[in-house]
Chain length 211, copies 2
DNA sequence: GATTTGACTGGGTCGCCAGTCAGGATCGTT
DNA sequence: AACGATCCTGACTGGCGACCCAGTCAAATC
Protein backbone atom coordinates (compact mmCIF):
# COMPACT_ATOMS: atom_id res chain seq x y z
CA UNK A 1 0.00 0.00 0.00
CA UNK A 2 2.41 2.69 -1.21
CA UNK A 3 5.84 3.00 -2.83
CA UNK A 4 8.34 3.48 -0.03
CA UNK A 5 8.12 4.67 3.55
CA UNK A 6 10.07 7.77 2.50
CA UNK A 7 7.11 8.95 0.47
CA UNK A 8 6.19 12.29 1.95
CA UNK A 9 3.43 13.21 -0.41
CA UNK A 10 0.98 10.37 -0.68
CA UNK A 11 -2.58 11.16 -1.64
CA UNK A 12 -3.61 11.11 2.02
CA UNK A 13 -0.94 13.62 2.94
CA UNK A 14 -2.02 15.89 0.16
CA UNK A 15 -5.61 15.76 1.37
CA UNK A 16 -4.58 16.43 4.96
CA UNK A 17 -2.52 19.37 3.91
CA UNK A 18 -5.35 20.75 1.81
CA UNK A 19 -7.78 20.38 4.69
CA UNK A 20 -5.40 22.24 7.00
CA UNK A 21 -5.00 24.94 4.38
CA UNK A 22 -8.76 25.31 4.15
CA UNK A 23 -9.12 25.53 7.93
CA UNK A 24 -6.50 28.22 7.97
CA UNK A 25 -8.16 30.21 5.24
CA UNK A 26 -11.49 29.80 6.99
CA UNK A 27 -10.06 31.31 10.17
CA UNK A 28 -8.61 34.27 8.30
CA UNK A 29 -11.80 34.94 6.37
CA UNK A 30 -14.04 34.66 9.44
CA UNK A 31 -11.80 37.04 11.36
CA UNK A 32 -11.92 39.51 8.52
CA UNK A 33 -15.58 39.33 7.50
CA UNK A 34 -17.27 37.87 10.54
CA UNK A 35 -19.01 34.53 10.72
CA UNK A 36 -22.34 35.90 9.61
CA UNK A 37 -21.08 37.22 6.31
CA UNK A 38 -18.56 34.53 5.50
CA UNK A 39 -19.50 32.60 2.36
CA UNK A 40 -18.09 29.27 1.36
CA UNK A 41 -16.98 30.94 -1.85
CA UNK A 42 -14.98 33.51 0.15
CA UNK A 43 -12.96 30.74 1.70
CA UNK A 44 -12.52 29.14 -1.70
CA UNK A 45 -11.29 32.43 -3.12
CA UNK A 46 -8.85 32.92 -0.24
CA UNK A 47 -7.36 29.52 -1.01
CA UNK A 48 -7.39 29.95 -4.81
CA UNK A 49 -9.56 26.93 -5.16
CA UNK A 50 -12.95 26.17 -6.64
CA UNK A 51 -16.09 26.32 -4.53
CA UNK A 52 -16.74 22.69 -5.18
CA UNK A 53 -13.52 21.61 -3.53
CA UNK A 54 -14.65 22.88 -0.15
CA UNK A 55 -17.58 20.50 -0.25
CA UNK A 56 -15.34 17.71 -1.39
CA UNK A 57 -13.33 17.96 1.82
CA UNK A 58 -16.09 19.11 4.17
CA UNK A 59 -19.64 17.87 3.84
CA UNK A 60 -21.21 21.13 4.95
CA UNK A 61 -20.22 24.67 5.80
CA UNK A 62 -21.00 23.96 9.45
CA UNK A 63 -18.55 21.08 9.40
CA UNK A 64 -15.83 23.35 8.10
CA UNK A 65 -16.51 26.09 10.64
CA UNK A 66 -16.71 23.65 13.52
CA UNK A 67 -13.46 21.96 12.50
CA UNK A 68 -11.79 25.35 12.23
CA UNK A 69 -12.91 26.37 15.71
CA UNK A 70 -11.78 23.05 17.14
CA UNK A 71 -8.35 23.35 15.53
CA UNK A 72 -7.93 26.91 16.76
CA UNK A 73 -9.00 26.06 20.28
CA UNK A 74 -6.68 23.07 20.47
CA UNK A 75 -3.70 25.02 19.24
CA UNK A 76 -4.42 27.72 21.82
CA UNK A 77 -4.52 25.25 24.68
CA UNK A 78 -1.33 23.63 23.43
CA UNK A 79 0.52 26.93 23.52
CA UNK A 80 -0.83 27.60 27.00
CA UNK A 81 0.56 24.32 28.26
CA UNK A 82 3.95 25.23 26.87
CA UNK A 83 3.87 28.46 28.82
CA UNK A 84 3.23 26.92 32.21
CA UNK A 85 5.79 24.22 31.52
CA UNK A 86 8.34 26.94 30.81
CA UNK A 87 11.04 28.36 33.06
CA UNK A 88 10.84 31.06 35.71
CA UNK A 89 9.09 31.61 39.02
CA UNK A 90 5.40 30.94 39.37
CA UNK A 91 4.59 34.61 39.27
CA UNK A 92 6.56 35.03 36.07
CA UNK A 93 4.67 32.18 34.47
CA UNK A 94 1.35 33.51 35.75
CA UNK A 95 2.17 36.86 34.23
CA UNK A 96 3.04 35.19 30.94
CA UNK A 97 -0.35 33.49 30.94
CA UNK A 98 -2.11 36.78 31.58
CA UNK A 99 -0.22 38.43 28.76
CA UNK A 100 -0.99 35.55 26.43
CA UNK A 101 -4.66 36.06 27.22
CA UNK A 102 -4.71 39.67 26.22
CA UNK A 103 -4.54 40.67 22.55
CA UNK A 104 -1.00 41.75 21.87
CA UNK A 105 -1.92 44.92 20.05
CA UNK A 106 -4.76 46.93 18.64
CA UNK A 107 -4.49 45.03 15.37
CA UNK A 108 -4.68 41.59 17.01
CA UNK A 109 -8.35 40.89 16.58
CA UNK A 110 -8.18 37.16 17.22
CA UNK A 111 -10.82 37.44 19.92
CA UNK A 112 -13.44 38.32 17.35
CA UNK A 113 -13.48 34.65 16.52
CA UNK A 114 -14.62 33.74 20.00
CA UNK A 115 -17.26 36.44 20.13
CA UNK A 116 -18.75 34.89 17.00
CA UNK A 117 -18.31 31.43 18.45
CA UNK A 118 -20.11 32.32 21.67
CA UNK A 119 -23.14 33.46 19.72
CA UNK A 120 -23.00 30.37 17.55
CA UNK A 121 -22.47 28.08 20.52
CA UNK A 122 -25.82 29.08 21.99
CA UNK A 123 -27.52 27.10 19.20
CA UNK A 124 -24.90 24.55 18.19
CA UNK A 125 -23.99 21.89 20.75
CA UNK A 126 -20.82 20.93 18.87
CA UNK A 127 -19.54 24.48 19.06
CA UNK A 128 -20.60 24.74 22.67
CA UNK A 129 -18.55 21.68 23.47
CA UNK A 130 -15.45 23.19 21.89
CA UNK A 131 -15.94 26.36 23.92
CA UNK A 132 -16.38 24.38 27.09
CA UNK A 133 -13.07 22.63 26.47
CA UNK A 134 -11.31 25.87 25.67
CA UNK A 135 -12.54 27.64 28.79
CA UNK A 136 -11.91 24.57 30.84
CA UNK A 137 -8.36 24.59 29.52
CA UNK A 138 -7.80 28.18 30.55
CA UNK A 139 -9.20 27.63 34.00
CA UNK A 140 -7.19 24.47 34.48
CA UNK A 141 -3.98 26.20 33.43
CA UNK A 142 -4.59 29.14 35.74
CA UNK A 143 -5.43 26.87 38.61
CA UNK A 144 -2.32 24.83 37.90
CA UNK A 145 0.02 27.84 37.96
CA UNK A 146 -1.53 28.95 41.20
CA UNK A 147 -1.01 25.53 42.74
CA UNK A 148 2.58 25.50 41.52
CA UNK A 149 3.11 28.86 43.20
CA UNK A 150 1.63 27.57 46.44
CA UNK A 151 3.94 24.56 46.45
CA UNK A 152 6.85 26.87 45.83
CA UNK A 153 5.74 29.01 48.75
CA UNK A 154 5.20 32.02 46.49
CA UNK A 155 1.40 32.12 46.67
CA UNK A 156 -1.34 31.82 49.25
CA UNK A 157 -4.79 30.81 48.09
CA UNK A 158 -7.43 28.69 49.75
CA UNK A 159 -9.36 27.92 46.56
CA UNK A 160 -7.20 27.78 43.41
CA UNK A 161 -10.07 26.51 41.27
CA UNK A 162 -12.37 29.33 42.34
CA UNK A 163 -9.63 31.89 41.91
CA UNK A 164 -8.96 30.58 38.41
CA UNK A 165 -12.64 30.81 37.53
CA UNK A 166 -12.85 34.39 38.73
CA UNK A 167 -9.71 35.42 36.91
CA UNK A 168 -10.76 33.69 33.72
CA UNK A 169 -14.15 35.34 33.87
CA UNK A 170 -12.71 38.78 34.48
CA UNK A 171 -10.28 38.44 31.61
CA UNK A 172 -13.02 37.28 29.25
CA UNK A 173 -15.19 40.21 30.16
CA UNK A 174 -12.45 42.79 29.97
CA UNK A 175 -11.18 41.47 26.65
CA UNK A 176 -14.67 41.78 25.21
CA UNK A 177 -14.65 45.41 26.25
CA UNK A 178 -11.19 45.92 24.82
CA UNK A 179 -12.05 44.19 21.55
CA UNK A 180 -15.28 46.08 21.05
CA UNK A 181 -14.29 49.51 22.34
CA UNK A 182 -10.56 49.72 22.45
CA UNK A 183 -11.01 53.43 23.03
CA UNK A 184 -12.68 52.80 26.38
CA UNK A 185 -10.07 50.37 27.69
CA UNK A 186 -6.40 50.48 26.79
CA UNK A 187 -4.25 47.38 26.71
CA UNK A 188 -2.15 48.81 29.52
CA UNK A 189 -5.16 49.33 31.74
CA UNK A 190 -6.47 45.87 30.93
CA UNK A 191 -3.18 44.27 31.92
CA UNK A 192 -3.08 46.36 35.07
CA UNK A 193 -6.55 45.13 36.07
CA UNK A 194 -5.45 41.57 35.43
CA UNK A 195 -2.38 41.93 37.61
CA UNK A 196 -4.24 43.63 40.44
CA UNK A 197 -6.87 40.92 40.55
CA UNK A 198 -4.36 38.11 40.15
CA UNK A 199 -2.15 39.50 42.90
CA UNK A 200 -5.13 39.57 45.25
CA UNK A 201 -6.20 36.07 44.36
CA UNK A 202 -2.79 34.58 45.08
CA UNK A 203 -2.03 36.71 48.10
CA UNK A 204 0.95 38.67 46.84
CA UNK A 205 1.52 42.37 46.38
CA UNK A 206 0.79 43.86 42.99
CA UNK A 207 4.38 45.11 42.85
CA UNK A 208 5.56 41.50 42.78
CA UNK A 209 4.68 41.46 39.08
CA UNK A 210 7.28 42.45 36.50
CA UNK A 211 7.14 46.03 35.34
CA UNK B 1 -53.28 69.38 14.78
CA UNK B 2 -55.52 67.12 16.92
CA UNK B 3 -58.90 67.17 18.71
CA UNK B 4 -58.20 67.73 22.40
CA UNK B 5 -55.20 67.23 24.62
CA UNK B 6 -57.09 64.38 26.27
CA UNK B 7 -56.91 62.30 23.09
CA UNK B 8 -55.12 59.12 24.12
CA UNK B 9 -55.32 57.23 20.88
CA UNK B 10 -54.29 59.47 18.06
CA UNK B 11 -52.73 57.94 14.98
CA UNK B 12 -49.28 58.81 16.31
CA UNK B 13 -49.98 56.94 19.52
CA UNK B 14 -51.16 53.94 17.58
CA UNK B 15 -47.98 53.94 15.53
CA UNK B 16 -45.81 54.28 18.62
CA UNK B 17 -47.60 51.42 20.27
CA UNK B 18 -47.23 49.25 17.19
CA UNK B 19 -43.54 50.05 16.99
CA UNK B 20 -43.10 49.10 20.64
CA UNK B 21 -45.01 45.91 20.02
CA UNK B 22 -42.73 45.05 17.11
CA UNK B 23 -39.61 45.75 19.16
CA UNK B 24 -40.93 43.48 21.85
CA UNK B 25 -41.71 40.69 19.44
CA UNK B 26 -38.30 41.13 17.86
CA UNK B 27 -36.65 40.66 21.22
CA UNK B 28 -38.62 37.51 21.97
CA UNK B 29 -37.93 36.01 18.55
CA UNK B 30 -34.22 36.80 18.63
CA UNK B 31 -33.92 35.26 22.08
CA UNK B 32 -35.69 32.16 20.90
CA UNK B 33 -34.14 31.63 17.48
CA UNK B 34 -30.92 33.61 17.64
CA UNK B 35 -30.09 36.66 15.62
CA UNK B 36 -28.60 34.67 12.75
CA UNK B 37 -31.76 32.72 12.06
CA UNK B 38 -34.31 35.39 12.80
CA UNK B 39 -36.32 36.36 9.72
CA UNK B 40 -38.39 39.45 9.35
CA UNK B 41 -41.34 37.18 8.69
CA UNK B 42 -40.79 35.43 12.05
CA UNK B 43 -41.24 38.72 13.82
CA UNK B 44 -44.30 39.44 11.73
CA UNK B 45 -45.78 36.07 12.64
CA UNK B 46 -45.08 36.63 16.34
CA UNK B 47 -47.05 39.88 16.16
CA UNK B 48 -49.86 38.52 13.96
CA UNK B 49 -49.08 41.04 11.36
CA UNK B 50 -48.13 41.00 7.69
CA UNK B 51 -44.54 41.02 6.59
CA UNK B 52 -45.02 44.29 4.80
CA UNK B 53 -45.96 46.10 7.98
CA UNK B 54 -42.54 45.61 9.47
CA UNK B 55 -41.06 47.56 6.60
CA UNK B 56 -43.69 50.19 6.94
CA UNK B 57 -42.50 51.00 10.46
CA UNK B 58 -38.81 50.13 10.03
CA UNK B 59 -36.95 50.80 6.80
CA UNK B 60 -34.68 47.77 7.09
CA UNK B 61 -34.25 44.72 9.24
CA UNK B 62 -31.07 46.23 10.65
CA UNK B 63 -33.01 49.28 11.76
CA UNK B 64 -35.46 47.10 13.62
CA UNK B 65 -32.77 45.04 15.31
CA UNK B 66 -30.75 48.08 16.27
CA UNK B 67 -33.81 49.82 17.68
CA UNK B 68 -34.68 46.70 19.64
CA UNK B 69 -31.22 46.49 21.15
CA UNK B 70 -31.28 50.17 22.03
CA UNK B 71 -34.66 49.89 23.72
CA UNK B 72 -33.58 46.83 25.67
CA UNK B 73 -30.35 48.43 26.78
CA UNK B 74 -32.07 51.62 27.88
CA UNK B 75 -34.68 49.79 29.87
CA UNK B 76 -31.96 47.78 31.58
CA UNK B 77 -30.04 50.87 32.60
CA UNK B 78 -33.25 52.48 33.82
CA UNK B 79 -33.98 49.54 36.11
CA UNK B 80 -30.43 49.64 37.37
CA UNK B 81 -30.78 53.29 38.35
CA UNK B 82 -33.92 52.46 40.29
CA UNK B 83 -32.02 49.86 42.23
CA UNK B 84 -29.25 52.13 43.41
CA UNK B 85 -31.75 54.85 44.21
CA UNK B 86 -33.62 52.36 46.41
CA UNK B 87 -33.51 51.89 50.17
CA UNK B 88 -31.05 49.98 52.31
CA UNK B 89 -27.38 50.10 53.15
CA UNK B 90 -24.79 50.38 50.40
CA UNK B 91 -23.89 46.73 50.67
CA UNK B 92 -27.52 45.74 50.33
CA UNK B 93 -27.84 47.85 47.21
CA UNK B 94 -24.57 46.49 45.82
CA UNK B 95 -25.84 42.98 46.37
CA UNK B 96 -29.07 43.84 44.61
CA UNK B 97 -27.08 45.08 41.62
CA UNK B 98 -25.08 41.86 41.53
CA UNK B 99 -28.21 39.79 41.65
CA UNK B 100 -29.83 41.86 38.93
CA UNK B 101 -26.78 41.14 36.78
CA UNK B 102 -27.06 37.41 37.05
CA UNK B 103 -29.82 35.53 35.21
CA UNK B 104 -32.48 34.73 37.76
CA UNK B 105 -32.86 31.10 36.76
CA UNK B 106 -31.83 28.49 34.28
CA UNK B 107 -34.68 29.50 32.02
CA UNK B 108 -33.75 33.19 32.02
CA UNK B 109 -31.79 33.33 28.78
CA UNK B 110 -31.86 37.09 28.36
CA UNK B 111 -28.08 37.21 28.06
CA UNK B 112 -28.21 35.39 24.75
CA UNK B 113 -29.26 38.69 23.29
CA UNK B 114 -25.99 40.31 24.32
CA UNK B 115 -23.88 37.44 23.08
CA UNK B 116 -25.46 37.94 19.67
CA UNK B 117 -25.08 41.69 20.00
CA UNK B 118 -21.36 41.44 20.81
CA UNK B 119 -20.74 39.48 17.64
CA UNK B 120 -22.85 41.91 15.64
CA UNK B 121 -21.22 44.93 17.24
CA UNK B 122 -17.84 43.94 15.87
CA UNK B 123 -19.08 44.93 12.39
CA UNK B 124 -21.83 47.43 13.13
CA UNK B 125 -20.81 50.74 14.68
CA UNK B 126 -24.38 51.58 15.70
CA UNK B 127 -24.65 48.38 17.67
CA UNK B 128 -21.21 48.91 19.12
CA UNK B 129 -22.30 52.29 20.38
CA UNK B 130 -25.31 50.82 22.14
CA UNK B 131 -23.09 48.24 23.79
CA UNK B 132 -20.67 50.90 24.89
CA UNK B 133 -23.48 52.81 26.56
CA UNK B 134 -24.84 49.71 28.24
CA UNK B 135 -21.49 48.65 29.64
CA UNK B 136 -20.71 52.20 30.58
CA UNK B 137 -24.01 52.28 32.44
CA UNK B 138 -23.18 49.16 34.41
CA UNK B 139 -19.75 50.41 35.33
CA UNK B 140 -21.07 53.80 36.31
CA UNK B 141 -23.72 52.28 38.53
CA UNK B 142 -21.24 49.96 40.22
CA UNK B 143 -18.82 52.78 40.76
CA UNK B 144 -21.62 54.92 42.14
CA UNK B 145 -22.73 52.35 44.71
CA UNK B 146 -19.14 51.92 45.79
CA UNK B 147 -18.75 55.66 46.24
CA UNK B 148 -21.99 55.80 48.21
CA UNK B 149 -20.66 53.09 50.47
CA UNK B 150 -17.44 54.97 51.00
CA UNK B 151 -19.29 58.13 51.97
CA UNK B 152 -21.36 56.11 54.40
CA UNK B 153 -18.21 54.65 55.86
CA UNK B 154 -19.19 51.12 54.84
CA UNK B 155 -16.58 50.64 52.12
CA UNK B 156 -12.89 51.26 51.56
CA UNK B 157 -11.65 51.51 48.02
CA UNK B 158 -8.95 53.64 46.48
CA UNK B 159 -10.19 53.32 42.89
CA UNK B 160 -13.96 52.92 42.56
CA UNK B 161 -13.85 53.25 38.78
CA UNK B 162 -11.22 50.55 38.43
CA UNK B 163 -13.02 48.31 40.89
CA UNK B 164 -16.24 48.74 38.94
CA UNK B 165 -14.49 47.85 35.68
CA UNK B 166 -13.01 44.71 37.18
CA UNK B 167 -16.31 43.62 38.69
CA UNK B 168 -18.23 44.34 35.52
CA UNK B 169 -15.72 42.38 33.49
CA UNK B 170 -15.79 39.43 35.82
CA UNK B 171 -19.55 39.28 35.82
CA UNK B 172 -19.69 39.48 32.02
CA UNK B 173 -17.25 36.64 31.68
CA UNK B 174 -18.87 34.44 34.30
CA UNK B 175 -22.33 35.02 32.91
CA UNK B 176 -21.12 33.93 29.49
CA UNK B 177 -19.92 30.72 31.06
CA UNK B 178 -23.17 30.27 32.94
CA UNK B 179 -25.29 30.98 29.87
CA UNK B 180 -23.34 28.65 27.60
CA UNK B 181 -22.60 25.81 30.00
CA UNK B 182 -24.90 26.08 32.95
CA UNK B 183 -23.72 22.63 33.91
CA UNK B 184 -20.20 23.90 34.51
CA UNK B 185 -21.21 26.88 36.65
CA UNK B 186 -24.24 26.99 38.89
CA UNK B 187 -26.06 30.18 39.65
CA UNK B 188 -25.15 29.80 43.31
CA UNK B 189 -21.46 29.50 42.53
CA UNK B 190 -21.64 32.46 40.18
CA UNK B 191 -23.23 34.63 42.85
CA UNK B 192 -20.68 33.45 45.37
CA UNK B 193 -17.84 34.48 43.04
CA UNK B 194 -19.44 37.86 42.57
CA UNK B 195 -19.77 38.43 46.31
CA UNK B 196 -16.23 37.31 47.04
CA UNK B 197 -14.77 39.62 44.43
CA UNK B 198 -17.02 42.52 45.38
CA UNK B 199 -16.21 42.15 49.06
CA UNK B 200 -12.51 42.32 48.26
CA UNK B 201 -12.92 45.33 46.02
CA UNK B 202 -14.75 47.36 48.65
CA UNK B 203 -12.72 46.17 51.61
CA UNK B 204 -15.37 44.33 53.57
CA UNK B 205 -15.64 40.74 54.67
CA UNK B 206 -17.53 38.35 52.44
CA UNK B 207 -19.81 37.55 55.39
CA UNK B 208 -21.08 41.13 55.31
CA UNK B 209 -23.30 40.12 52.40
CA UNK B 210 -26.78 38.82 53.03
CA UNK B 211 -27.15 35.07 53.12
C1' DG C 1 0.36 1.10 -20.77
C1' DA C 2 -4.09 0.14 -19.10
C1' DT C 3 -7.10 0.83 -15.43
C1' DT C 4 -8.60 2.51 -11.17
C1' DT C 5 -8.76 5.89 -7.60
C1' DG C 6 -8.77 10.37 -5.73
C1' DA C 7 -8.41 15.50 -6.18
C1' DC C 8 -10.40 19.13 -8.34
C1' DT C 9 -13.26 22.33 -11.53
C1' DG C 10 -17.07 25.27 -12.73
C1' DG C 11 -21.50 25.72 -14.06
C1' DG C 12 -26.13 24.83 -12.57
C1' DT C 13 -30.10 24.35 -9.39
C1' DC C 14 -33.15 25.19 -5.86
C1' DG C 15 -34.83 27.37 -1.89
C1' DC C 16 -34.88 31.26 0.84
C1' DC C 17 -35.56 35.94 2.37
C1' DA C 18 -35.30 41.26 2.57
C1' DG C 19 -37.52 44.55 0.58
C1' DT C 20 -41.33 46.45 -2.94
C1' DC C 21 -45.73 47.68 -4.47
C1' DA C 22 -50.54 48.23 -5.65
C1' DG C 23 -54.40 48.30 -3.49
C1' DG C 24 -57.70 48.10 0.60
C1' DA C 25 -59.38 49.44 5.20
C1' DT C 26 -59.79 52.79 8.84
C1' DC C 27 -59.39 56.99 11.08
C1' DG C 28 -59.52 62.14 11.74
C1' DT C 29 -60.93 66.35 9.69
C1' DT C 30 -63.88 69.62 7.38
C1' DA D 1 -70.39 62.75 3.47
C1' DA D 2 -66.39 63.20 1.41
C1' DC D 3 -61.60 63.24 1.47
C1' DG D 4 -56.89 62.85 2.55
C1' DA D 5 -53.62 60.76 5.58
C1' DT D 6 -52.13 56.87 7.80
C1' DC D 7 -52.02 52.01 8.73
C1' DC D 8 -51.94 47.65 6.88
C1' DT D 9 -52.08 43.43 3.61
C1' DG D 10 -50.24 39.78 0.78
C1' DA D 11 -48.42 38.65 -3.47
C1' DC D 12 -44.33 39.35 -5.86
C1' DT D 13 -39.26 39.72 -7.18
C1' DG D 14 -34.51 39.81 -7.53
C1' DG D 15 -30.42 38.36 -5.78
C1' DC D 16 -27.81 35.38 -3.31
C1' DG D 17 -25.57 31.30 -1.49
C1' DA D 18 -25.11 26.29 -0.09
C1' DC D 19 -24.79 22.32 -2.21
C1' DC D 20 -24.79 19.05 -6.41
C1' DC D 21 -22.86 16.85 -10.33
C1' DA D 22 -20.81 15.64 -14.70
C1' DG D 23 -16.64 15.70 -16.35
C1' DT D 24 -11.22 16.49 -16.40
C1' DC D 25 -6.75 15.38 -15.10
C1' DA D 26 -2.94 13.30 -12.74
C1' DA D 27 -1.06 10.09 -9.73
C1' DA D 28 -1.10 5.31 -8.06
C1' DT D 29 -1.62 0.47 -8.96
C1' DC D 30 -1.68 -3.55 -11.72
Amino acid sequence: MRSAEGARSSRADQADQRRAELLDAARRVVLERGLASTRVSDIAKATNVSGGLIHYHFATKDDLITAMLRATSESEVRRLREIIAGPGTAIQRLDRVLRFYIPSSRSDQSWILWLDAWALGVREPHVREILLELEGGWIEILSEVISQGMEAGEFTCDDPQGAAERLDGMLDGLVVRYTLHSGAMSRKRLLEHARIAAAREVGVDRSSFPA
